[in-house]
Amino acid sequence: MNPKCKTYNRKKIIVIFGCCFVALLVLVGRLVKLMVFESEYYQELADDLHERERSIKAARGKIIDASGNVLATNRTVCTISVVHSQIKDPETVIEVLCKELELPEDTVRKRVEKRSSIERVKTNVEKEVGDRIREYQLEGVKIDEDFKRYYPYGSLASKVLGFTGSDNQGIIGLEVVYDSYLQGMNGTILTLTDARGVEIADAGEERVEPVSGNDLYISLDYNIQLYAQQAALKALEQKQATYVSILVMNPQNGEIYACVNVPEFDLNDPFTLNTDMDTTGLSEQEKQDLLNQMWRNQSINDTYEPGSTFKVITAAAALEKGVVSLNDTFSCPGFRIVEDRKIRCHKVGGHGGETFVQGIMNSCNPVFIDIGQRVGVEDFYHYFQQFGLLSKTGVDLPGEAATIMHKVENIGAVELATISFGQSFQITPMQLATTISSIINGGTRVTPHFGVEIRDEEGNLLKTLQYEKREGVVSKETSETMRYLMEQVVAEGGGQKAYIEGYRIGGKTATSQTLPRGTNKYISSFVGFAPADDPRVLAIAIIHNPQGVYYGGTIAAPVVQDIFSNILPYLGIEKEEVVSDEET
């Protein structure tokens, strides 16, 4: 009843089998391609998928001041990430992260819903916030603890210390210059994980331990910086100035004790402007410009016309050339005619007849025009070079501004006259402080600096930082004379307001107009040092755009006096017995 199988049925079965054989052969070919020729490619992709390389951030080295105070250190912060495959309840995760991290919902949603092995949501989250998120016990949310740079004193020396970016790299200040010492080596943990990101227990992890960065010991002293900052803030407020810069340094070796530029900014929040300015409506570029402005260290990054404080340098050049002696007499009718210009002295009626010493004490412009002419353009320029005025100081902070000076061939009589009393060119406050240091310290050009030593975590000395010194900038005699002259300025001349009873203090005042002229904005400054016979500390105070009285001798000298009266005892400089020679 049942029909039999025919030959054509059998043939067709063989055809079917043949098709099957060919298909399987093709698939084997495909497997060979995947497993032999493309094996490496897929293996690599698969390894990337399985391996979790977790970076262990190295602790950045501390910055420690001259008294052992830690000015920059690290604090534990958290990095919040999401592991896509582990998230069970994305909506709750998004809600919680939005709330705790204060991020807009679409930002968080994008991260949470991205199909990647691990996605970072936010870094540098405060530890308390991280702990709070951890308490929700959300699946798929990872909280990794990490280090963040922390500045215990907030804005203190902000423009000197600088800060770091989220990648632990210095952005401004000492953090940039000493980055290579401060930065440690990040470690890594290489683990295998399953798709949920759970580490596989017996896979064994490769671990490279992080190496902590080294500590930087600096000459800046917390207490001196704090005194100087208080004095600067007082002046800033009283005189309604734009900013006030104060530099305190050791004129013998160039160590900087304090570098204040108020208003400072909060190093723990460096991307927020320190003014209440409304930045809405500003472009990113404009905002960045404002930040850059806020971060400027005016003592180093900006130049100004030094004005009368520069007379110290003119005097030193003239003394060095031997074209003036202390008892030379000059006469000041209140102006000098130079070529076709009438250059006024600040005292309208003139100082009349005066000696060179009196000329300095009076800060008399005609006297300095005269001695500038005696030195002559060529030699003046030569002395600038010798004093180091035309090159940068080499201070260990980034972005030092260069001196802006006339070319020697462009200096005519008028330019020579104005240079003599510190106008028509620009230098940085740091340059002025350094040059005056070299003139009063016996003639050694020092390199101003903050960095002193590099030590490892345990405090073992790794490196003592060396700085260039150049002897013979001026002769010992010239140096001694200059100290005497500047002491006279404070004792009896224009710098009397810097006088502290019991101390021998040298100094020079200055009042210069800001550029461009005619805006009636002034820069009032004073440079002082103590003790006058053996200078151990030099301070310069610069008040930009003070309101009301703007004479350096009146408003800047008291600032230095205030600082000196605080720090001289602190530095162990003893008061001398008061020898009253005013009666003579």
Partner: protein, 371 residues
């Protein structure tokens, strides 16, 4: 009914033929399947049910039941099924309809009927039902099979089940269609009609694909799985295969099974076979399947009556289509569609009916005459 009995008696005079090599191959595949299944599913079992052997236990139970069925079916004269073929087919239609209404949904498809702790996939039963039905129908009207119209009528018979299964499970519908096409092809003496039909099928497929944009998207994912989120499964399978290299990472050492290949114990299990046993292992598995198909071919070629031949061809087609499509999907040779690998992929109903089919084939082998 007289002729098969006489044939049987004739054979009994000598040694009763029985395809032991087919049985050994099947047992080999079943054991290998369980071993691989344990390795592949241990992680998922641990994660979802806190029991590494969760899937193995269920599969082991189904396999034991399947082996019992295989033995029983191999002892029952396959001609007895001919009378039950229509009934079985109607039952499969009822069950496939029932699943549409009472089925358990899993991963978005209703494919399971639950009865207490036991769940059952009617589409697996439908395959066997279709093989038996078509073997019966074709062997009755084989003389008319030369006409295109008759071939069409035969296909029409299975359209209800293809439609029913296809609503939830396109892949199985394709397999059923494939089996039907093979059976009709073998039954017909013509060749050219099939070439025409093949061309028609390709054209139909092209229209089918372009009507719905998501089907075209499937094609795009197939070309560049890296660029699509839905290419994830395919890509993970490729990672697993590529990681295997020549000799594999060794049994139990697959990384991709740790949740990277989603539900690695199901459709994508071959990728884990590749990862753990390498190209060599993969080729051995393919060879085992080829041997299985070869044994079924031998049975189909040597059984004298057309009904038995059609059963053997149907089973051969079933195994063949599933193996080829599964490996093609896993290797991203064709676009992704859910097809399990016979005997190896996890699935109780599947292994139960596969083993029953093997029992059927073994019984057919008892009626073989070697000339």
């Amino acid at each position: 009914m007289a002729s098969p009995n006489t044939a049987k008696r004739a054979k009994k005079q000598g040694k009763e033929p029985f395809d032991y090599s087919l049985m050994l191959i099947v047992l080999g595949l079943v054991v290998f399947g369980l071993v691989v299944l344990y390795s592949t599913s241990a992680y998922n079992g641990q994660v979802k049910f806190a029991d590494k052997a969760y899937y193995l236990k269920k599969q082991f139970f189904a396999t034991s039941l399947g082996l019992a069925c295989m033995y029983a079916v191999s002892r029952i004269d396959y001609h007895k099924w001919e009378r039950l073929a229509v009934l079985g087919y109607l039952m499969s239609i009822v069950l496939s309809t029932a699943v549409l209404f009472f089925g358990d949904e899993y991963n978005g498809s209703k494919r399971w009927l639950s009865l207490g702790p036991i769940s059952f996939q009617p589409s697996e039963f439908a395959k066997v039902a279709v093989i038996l039905l078509l073997a019966s129908v074709i062997s009755r009207r084989v003389r008319k099979m030369t006409s295109l119209w008759q071939m069409f009528l035969v296909m029409l018979v299975i359209l209800p089940i293809v439609g029913l299964v296809g609503t939830n499970n396109l892949s199985t519908a394709i397999i059923i269609m494939g089996i039907a096409v093979i059976l009709v092809f073998v039954a017909s003496p013509k060749y050219f009609q099939f070439i025409g039909m093949g061309a028609l099928g390709v054209g139909f497929l092209a229209i089918f694909l372009s009507v719905e944009s998501y089907r075209l998207e499937r094609l795009a994912i197939w070309r560049n799985p890296e660029e699509y989120e839905k290419g994830y499964q395919t890509l993970q399978g490729l990672y697993a295969i590529g990681s295997g290299g020549l000799f594999g990472v060794g049994y139990g050492n697959s990384m991709q099974k740790l949740g990277f290949v989603p539900e690695a114990q199901n459709d994508m299990i071959f990728s884990i076979v590749c990862e753990e046993f390498g190209l060599l292992g993969a080729i051995i598995v393919i060879l085992l399947f080829l041997l299985l198909v070869w044994r079924l071919l031998i049975i189909a070629m040597h059984v004298t009556d057309l009904f038995g031949c059609m059963i053997a061809v149907g089973i051969m087609g079933h195994i063949m289509i599933q193996v080829i499509l599964n490996i093609a999907v896993v290797t991203n040779t064709i676009p992704n569609t859910g097809i399990t690998l016979p005997f190896i992929s996890y699935g109780g109903t599947s292994v139960l009916f596969l083993l029953s089919e093997m029992g059927l084939a073994l019984n057919v082998s008892r009626h073989v005459t070697y000339s």
